[in-house]
Symmetry: C2
Subunit: 187 residues, 2 copies
Amino acid sequence: MNHYIGLVHHPIVDKRGTTVTTSVTNLDIHDIARSARTFGFEGYFIITPVVKQHELVQTILDHWNTDHGNQYNPDRKDALSFIRLADSIEIAKEKIKEKEGLEPIVVVTGANSQEFNGTTQELRNKLQVDKRPMLLLFGTGWGLHASVTNSADFKLEPLFGAAKDGYNHLSVRSAVAIYCDRLRRSL
Amino acid sequence: MNHYIGLVHHPIVDKRGTTVTTSVTNLDIHDIARSARTFGFEGYFIITPVVKQHELVQTILDHWNTDHGNQYNPDRKDALSFIRLADSIEIAKEKIKEKEGLEPIVVVTGANSQEFNGTTQELRNKLQVDKRPMLLLFGTGWGLHASVTNSADFKLEPLFGAAKDGYNHLSVRSAVAIYCDRLRRSL
């Protein structure tokens, strides 16, 4: 079964809880694509409604594909087909359904969630039983808007740190890598 | 027992195996500091012999500490003391010994290693038996020079991916996050 990662730039909340749209960054495209590919995901959706951001991503991908100065670039291999753009989570879901013939299970992550449905192991069990593709969503900024987490099929356990003072502020790139590793060891 | 992460910029190898010095990047400082702090490490050494790079890092840290526009910035809290600069691995080791009163165990990681000493679980056992601080080193560029890996006390298992085509190119930021998570669940 094929699974997908989605990096959401809208709807996101800022630190006051206001709904915002965040910007796509070069390193989010780069690092998360590498993590997703390394851990066997079928594709990586960059989800933003902003047209200019789609153009930015396309420019970066085109650069990777014509980067003659760098004969071996781990980003180049099939980057164009692996990384996909979508205006919204709904559109990402439709694209997965077109490709796989099945409605994806939407899984959310987030350090903010007070309640969650299960661990990565339990998610794996669910995926094996349901036999559907997964769209694993990550938020940027201060996290996914409640409308996204509330309607998700599965809320994955947050990542618990080990700092004596409770410091727990992983970057989204780091969080993606950790969940990929935990899931791989389950999938 | 306190443990430390070190990001090595020299001696590093490039794709031809030539010894090089890589540049420090803003996001390596940022992401890895956050991962290290979240997972309970005592400090994070940025290891480079280049004076101008020390100045660059210092500028970035000063900016975090005077960033009035951003009232809550997870990077600010104690960034200056948590992130340390060192000209070399030897100097990082000396600084740890000064602080902890004990010689650190040097642990290396790297996708290139053909042979390794053990898993994260085995490393944990060793740390509990030896009761010494760990300096966990990560390479940049194409990896740590053999002189570093050969003299290390422990070579940690590489991260195995799950891509059907064997693609296995995690960014160093992602690799740090994964090892931190695996070790935390052992430490």
